[in-house]
Subunit: 349 residues, 2 copies
């Protein structure tokens, strides 16, 4: 090899190394560059399941869209005015809990004993503090009770009448159980019981599909870079034995950490608990360097699909990116970012 | 550069590459080589906390050691005879639940209403199936109820009287609540209440230290390479409001996956829920390639210490390695491997 060739060889190696170094630096700085103090956002779900356009009336679809938009507007208003992600999550979930359209608060599904038993949880990504209530029957807005467990007690999770006693002592609005009673959900229970008595116990995932969806959840990033997530549900139609799903389980139904993302889940809760879905998305970002989109898709469309766990999640990361993957025919979902543009979707694109 | 130098340069690069490739191949095959069908083991805890030699009588220490040894022997016998890790976990926990020494089953701590409310969970690493009960008052061995929730229901988590109804229907041994009543735990409750009334609400971690430990847990690997873990507890002395700790929460108190490890936690449950402790150890192994020892130490002695969460975990991985890290003065713990040698420890080494 003549000396000039060696020189060219060394130069080309130096050039390649400099390109690689530049690419490394770029990939390391890109996420930081995306983040800015005014970069905020909020993402919402109203449940995943067999939601098909052919089964939907125009009026029903319009009602869902209007309520999702109202919730997103409320959350945007709070964040845009400099409010905290926790306040935005709580206020947005209130709107969905108060609407009989969703399986949370008013409109919750019935247990096999014709009662409504509600679960909710919330997590603060800044402190990793969290609160949850399970199996409450008299609390108008379970998400507020969950937040008070987080802020006014040393505990994370309270259940049943004990949780209600705590809520009452902390000034939460209590209602008569009849408040939660809707004709639509009562009919769903009757249909579930008829199916059960004609087919035996409902335990095959396919049979459960129609009886378990409609949970609501919100994840938000505020102007201070704080993430928060919350989830609220009536659980599963015809549920019994004090069944607790994933919604009040931190790590499964709800998770938030300022270093990664905020997540709320909806779907077949048992599968979400066993796969620690919400935390798994954060772990894939933290430990494998995945983007939110990659991590959320991997968990919902690969891991959960392999394990036959149907449902979806909504999430927002520390840079304001949102993800809304689901492996069911539809999911009520939407988001709003700093620009104020509200996006609501129901079916697969 | 003369041509001979270029040749030597190219040769030395080829040599370096071949060494790197060999090292890579070796590091990939080593874990497989460690594993063998007859490589089994079981690891047990009886709670972490302020356990100091100076506060322990010889008789008390001997009683704890004897019971831990009895439990480990039982688990070893099952595994050595080709039994499943699930059977070993359940039978070993039975011995600890039946012993008044530990805060699980008989010997459980009292709630503020002078009742005993028990929680337990179990997970099968082969199927990722799991079961848990929370807040039960009449079930002699909550770990057995948790296993039946896993095996005989489509649910993962049941609570309160609903969980008891399910247990009764599935033939679980029920007892009068007086069965759980021990004078020692009643005195602990009285002391906790006296402290509370003289100091106000107990919510500082330091004040809670003495009232919350003693949970039992087991993780096992059987001859077929199947992992399982289980945890059982009476919760926290003077607990109220239907408080649920980490023990019945899959991902926090218990986790098992044949691809990584089986883990059972003990400590200040609220911190363990928020840090998703048991699953986090598995995630660090799966996503960061850490060894069990590295992952367990990172979570217990770094993450939890930073977050002021006191306690410990026991774990066994798919190759039969065990880890028993804790960040408290002591933890009742022990393990046995294929060689049948039983090791029991209480204090820091």
């Amino acid at each position: 090899m003549p000396q000039s060739s060696v020189k060219r060889f060394v130069h080309s190696i130096m050039y390649t190394i400099s390109i690689i170094l530049t690419l490394c630096l770029l990939s390391c700085t890109t996420p930081e560059a995306q983040s800015s103090p005014s970069n905020f956002g909020l993402v919402v779900h109203g449940g995943a399941g067999t939601i098909l356009k052919k089964n939907m009336t125009q009026e029903k679809e319009a009602a869902y869209r209007a309520k999702m938009e109202e919730a997103l507007k409320k959350g945007y208003e709070i964040l845009n005015n400099g409010g905290s992600s926790l306040d935005a999550v709580e206020a947005t979930i209130h709107i969905l809990e108060d609407a009989p359209l969703f399986n949370a608060g008013k409109g919750a599904v019935f247990t096999s004993e014709e009662t409504n038993e509600l679960d909710a949880s919330i997590m603060d990504g800044a402190t990793l503090n969290a609160g949850a209530v399970a199996g409450v029957k008299h609390i108008k807005n379970p998400i507020t009770a969950a937040r008070l467990v987080m802020e006014n007690s040393p505990h994370v999770m309270m259940s049943g009448s004990g949780a209600e006693e705590f809520a009452r002592q902390n000034g939460v609005e209590m209602v008569d159980p009849d408040y939660f009673r809707t004709e639509r959900r009562l009919k769903q229970l009757q249909r579930a019981k008829e199916k059960e008595s004609s087919q035996g116990a409902i335990d095959a995932p396919s049979e459960m599909n129609n009886f378990k969806f409609g949970t609501v959840g919100v994840a938000a990033l505020d102007k201070n870079g704080n993430l928060a997530a919350g989830t609220s549900t009536g659980g599963m139609t015809n549920k019994r034995y004090g069944r607790i799903g994933d919604s009040p389980v931190i790590g499964a139904g709800t998770y938030a950490d300022n270093n990664t993302c905020a997540v709320s889940s909806t779907g077949h809760g048992e599968y979400f608990i066993r796969s620690v879905v919400a935390y798994d998305i954060a772990a894939l970002m933290a430990y494998k360097g995945m983007s939110l989109e990659e991590a959320a898709n991997h968990v919902v469309n690969e891991k959960l699909v392999e394990r036959e766990g149907s449902g979806g999640i909504i999430a927002i990361d520390k840079d304001g990116n949102v993800a809304m993957p689901f492996n069911t025919p539809g999911m009520y979902r939407g988001f709003v970012k700093s620009d104020g543009k509200i996006v609501v979707k129901i079916y697969k694109d």
